[in-house]
Protein backbone atom coordinates (compact mmCIF):
# COMPACT_ATOMS: atom_id res chain seq x y z
CA UNK A 1 0.00 0.00 0.00
CA UNK A 2 1.01 3.63 -0.52
CA UNK A 3 1.24 5.83 2.55
CA UNK A 4 1.98 9.52 3.04
CA UNK A 5 4.29 10.19 5.96
CA UNK A 6 4.68 13.58 7.64
CA UNK A 7 8.26 14.75 8.26
CA UNK A 8 9.54 17.39 10.66
CA UNK A 9 12.68 19.28 11.64
CA UNK A 10 15.89 17.52 10.56
CA UNK A 11 13.94 14.83 8.69
CA UNK A 12 12.07 17.38 6.62
CA UNK A 13 15.35 19.18 5.89
CA UNK A 14 17.14 15.97 4.90
CA UNK A 15 14.28 14.85 2.67
CA UNK A 16 13.72 18.30 1.21
CA UNK A 17 9.97 18.16 1.84
CA UNK A 18 7.54 17.91 4.74
CA UNK A 19 5.90 14.77 3.41
CA UNK A 20 7.18 11.50 1.89
CA UNK A 21 5.24 8.84 0.02
CA UNK A 22 6.29 5.26 0.79
CA UNK A 23 5.19 1.91 -0.52
CA UNK A 24 4.89 -0.93 2.01
CA UNK A 25 3.19 -4.32 1.92
CA UNK A 26 -0.18 -4.99 3.56
CA UNK A 27 0.31 -5.75 7.25
CA UNK A 28 3.33 -3.44 7.46
CA UNK A 29 4.36 -2.11 10.85
CA UNK A 30 5.49 1.29 12.09
CA UNK A 31 9.05 0.01 11.88
CA UNK A 32 8.61 -0.95 8.22
CA UNK A 33 7.31 2.51 7.39
CA UNK A 34 10.23 4.20 9.12
CA UNK A 35 12.73 2.00 7.24
CA UNK A 36 10.96 2.83 3.95
CA UNK A 37 11.28 6.55 4.71
CA UNK A 38 14.96 6.26 5.63
CA UNK A 39 15.60 4.23 2.44
CA UNK A 40 14.69 7.37 0.48
CA UNK A 41 17.49 9.33 2.18
CA UNK A 42 20.58 7.15 1.75
CA UNK A 43 23.72 8.44 3.43
CA UNK A 44 21.97 11.10 5.52
CA UNK A 45 23.00 11.42 9.16
CA UNK A 46 19.79 11.62 11.16
CA UNK A 47 18.88 11.25 14.80
CA UNK A 48 16.84 8.24 15.88
CA UNK A 49 13.13 9.01 15.48
CA UNK A 50 9.83 7.84 16.93
CA UNK A 51 6.66 7.41 14.90
CA UNK A 52 3.18 8.73 15.60
CA UNK A 53 0.07 7.15 14.16
CA UNK A 54 -3.06 9.28 14.23
CA UNK A 55 -1.34 11.85 16.49
CA UNK A 56 -0.22 9.42 19.21
CA UNK A 57 3.12 7.67 19.65
CA UNK A 58 3.03 4.12 18.27
CA UNK A 59 5.28 1.15 19.15
CA UNK A 60 7.58 -0.23 16.42
CA UNK A 61 5.46 -3.35 15.94
CA UNK A 62 2.10 -1.55 15.57
CA UNK A 63 0.33 -2.27 12.26
CA UNK A 64 -0.40 0.66 9.96
CA UNK A 65 -3.50 0.95 7.81
CA UNK A 66 -4.45 2.95 4.73
CA UNK A 67 -5.75 6.34 5.81
CA UNK A 68 -3.69 6.48 9.00
CA UNK A 69 -1.99 9.82 9.69
CA UNK A 70 1.64 8.77 10.07
CA UNK A 71 4.43 11.08 11.23
CA UNK A 72 8.13 10.64 11.87
CA UNK A 73 9.02 12.36 15.15
CA UNK A 74 12.72 13.20 15.56
CA UNK A 75 13.90 13.91 19.12
CA UNK A 76 11.68 16.67 20.46
CA UNK A 77 13.09 19.86 21.95
CA UNK A 78 10.20 21.94 23.23
CA UNK A 79 10.25 24.00 26.37
Amino acid sequence: MELDVLLFASYADAFGARQARVSVSAGATVSDVLQAVLAQMPGKQLPRAAVAVNQAYAPADARVNPGDEIAVIPPVAGG
Partner: protein, 144 residues
Amino acid sequence: MRRSALVERALDAARLEAEVAHGGAGAIAVFVGTVRDVNDGRPVTAIEYSAYGPMAERELERILEEACASAPALRAVVEHRIGLLAVGEASVVIAVSHPHRAEALRAVETIIEELKQRVPIWKREHYVDGTREWVHAGSSQVTC
Protein backbone atom coordinates in the same frame (compact mmCIF):
# COMPACT_ATOMS: atom_id res chain seq x y z
CA MET B 1 -9.79 23.46 35.01
CA ARG B 2 -7.05 23.16 32.42
CA ARG B 3 -6.11 24.70 29.07
CA SER B 4 -3.23 24.30 26.66
CA ALA B 5 -2.34 25.97 23.39
CA LEU B 6 0.33 26.55 20.81
CA VAL B 7 0.50 30.25 20.01
CA GLU B 8 2.38 32.48 17.59
CA ARG B 9 2.46 35.65 19.67
CA ALA B 10 4.41 36.76 22.74
CA LEU B 11 3.52 34.88 25.92
CA ASP B 12 2.27 36.66 29.04
CA ALA B 13 3.01 34.82 32.28
CA ALA B 14 0.92 37.24 34.36
CA ARG B 15 -2.17 36.46 32.29
CA LEU B 16 -1.74 32.70 32.79
CA GLU B 17 -1.10 33.20 36.48
CA ALA B 18 -4.36 35.17 36.74
CA GLU B 19 -6.14 32.40 34.87
CA VAL B 20 -5.36 29.76 37.52
CA ALA B 21 -5.78 32.05 40.55
CA HIS B 22 -8.93 31.59 42.64
CA GLY B 23 -10.04 31.74 46.26
CA GLY B 24 -9.43 28.03 46.77
CA ALA B 25 -5.76 28.27 45.79
CA GLY B 26 -3.09 28.48 48.43
CA ALA B 27 -0.22 28.30 45.96
CA ILE B 28 0.47 29.32 42.40
CA ALA B 29 3.58 28.03 40.65
CA VAL B 30 4.78 29.33 37.32
CA PHE B 31 7.53 28.14 35.02
CA VAL B 32 8.77 30.23 32.11
CA GLY B 33 11.23 28.84 29.57
CA THR B 34 13.22 31.60 27.90
CA VAL B 35 15.67 31.83 25.01
CA ARG B 36 19.19 31.87 26.44
CA ASP B 37 21.99 33.86 24.83
CA VAL B 38 24.39 30.92 24.81
CA ASN B 39 24.11 27.14 24.45
CA ASP B 40 27.00 24.71 24.81
CA GLY B 41 29.34 27.69 24.68
CA ARG B 42 27.98 29.03 21.35
CA PRO B 43 26.40 32.49 21.28
CA VAL B 44 22.77 32.20 20.20
CA THR B 45 20.90 35.06 18.50
CA ALA B 46 17.46 33.47 18.16
CA ILE B 47 15.59 30.17 18.31
CA GLU B 48 13.08 29.00 15.74
CA TYR B 49 10.38 26.74 17.21
CA SER B 50 8.24 24.52 15.00
CA ALA B 51 5.70 21.83 15.86
CA TYR B 52 3.54 19.03 14.61
CA GLY B 53 0.68 21.25 15.65
CA PRO B 54 -2.36 19.00 16.06
CA MET B 55 -0.41 16.28 17.86
CA ALA B 56 1.47 18.79 20.03
CA GLU B 57 -1.83 20.25 21.23
CA ARG B 58 -3.20 16.79 21.96
CA GLU B 59 -0.05 15.77 23.82
CA LEU B 60 -0.11 18.95 25.93
CA GLU B 61 -3.73 18.20 26.77
CA ARG B 62 -2.84 14.61 27.77
CA ILE B 63 -0.05 15.88 30.03
CA LEU B 64 -2.44 18.27 31.79
CA GLU B 65 -5.02 15.51 32.11
CA GLU B 66 -2.44 13.30 33.81
CA ALA B 67 -1.37 16.13 36.13
CA CYS B 68 -4.98 16.81 37.12
CA ALA B 69 -5.59 13.09 37.66
CA SER B 70 -2.67 13.06 40.13
CA ALA B 71 -3.89 16.20 41.90
CA PRO B 72 -7.63 16.68 41.34
CA ALA B 73 -7.80 20.22 42.77
CA LEU B 74 -5.17 21.39 40.28
CA ARG B 75 -5.82 24.19 37.80
CA ALA B 76 -3.24 24.20 35.02
CA VAL B 77 -2.60 26.16 31.85
CA VAL B 78 0.26 25.90 29.42
CA GLU B 79 1.09 27.88 26.31
CA HIS B 80 4.00 27.11 24.01
CA ARG B 81 5.09 29.65 21.46
CA ILE B 82 5.99 28.69 17.89
CA GLY B 83 8.01 30.82 15.45
CA LEU B 84 11.23 32.82 15.63
CA LEU B 85 12.05 33.98 19.16
CA ALA B 86 14.73 36.47 20.17
CA VAL B 87 17.03 36.04 23.16
CA GLY B 88 15.12 36.66 26.39
CA GLU B 89 11.71 35.86 24.92
CA ALA B 90 9.53 33.20 26.54
CA SER B 91 9.05 29.96 24.64
CA VAL B 92 6.77 28.28 27.16
CA VAL B 93 4.72 29.33 30.19
CA ILE B 94 3.17 26.86 32.61
CA ALA B 95 0.97 28.16 35.42
CA VAL B 96 -0.75 26.00 38.01
CA SER B 97 -2.62 26.52 41.24
CA HIS B 98 -3.52 24.15 44.03
CA PRO B 99 -4.73 24.47 47.63
CA HIS B 100 -1.27 23.24 48.76
CA ARG B 101 2.21 24.24 47.65
CA ALA B 102 3.80 20.79 47.38
CA GLU B 103 1.25 19.70 44.78
CA ALA B 104 1.59 22.96 42.84
CA LEU B 105 5.38 22.73 42.69
CA ARG B 106 5.33 19.05 41.79
CA ALA B 107 2.78 19.64 39.03
CA VAL B 108 4.73 22.42 37.35
CA GLU B 109 7.89 20.30 37.43
CA THR B 110 6.13 17.22 36.03
CA ILE B 111 4.46 19.22 33.28
CA ILE B 112 7.70 20.79 32.01
CA GLU B 113 9.54 17.44 32.17
CA GLU B 114 6.78 15.62 30.28
CA LEU B 115 6.51 18.44 27.76
CA LYS B 116 10.22 18.18 27.01
CA GLN B 117 10.00 14.39 26.66
CA ARG B 118 6.85 14.01 24.64
CA VAL B 119 5.45 17.06 22.89
CA PRO B 120 6.40 17.17 19.20
CA ILE B 121 8.04 20.58 19.14
CA TRP B 122 11.48 21.23 17.69
CA LYS B 123 13.90 24.09 17.91
CA ARG B 124 16.60 25.33 15.60
CA GLU B 125 19.18 27.62 17.11
CA HIS B 126 20.51 30.57 15.14
CA TYR B 127 24.12 31.48 15.90
CA VAL B 128 26.07 34.71 15.68
CA ASP B 129 27.98 33.40 12.65
CA GLY B 130 24.73 32.99 10.71
CA THR B 131 24.57 29.18 10.94
CA ARG B 132 21.53 27.30 12.26
CA GLU B 133 21.22 23.89 13.87
CA TRP B 134 18.43 21.64 15.04
CA VAL B 135 18.70 20.93 18.76
CA HIS B 136 18.40 17.23 19.45
CA ALA B 137 19.11 17.18 23.16
CA GLY B 138 21.25 14.18 24.00
CA SER B 139 20.04 12.03 21.12
CA SER B 140 22.39 9.65 19.38
CA GLN B 141 22.75 10.07 15.64
CA VAL B 142 21.90 7.11 13.45
CA THR B 143 23.11 6.58 9.94
CA CYS B 144 20.62 5.51 7.34
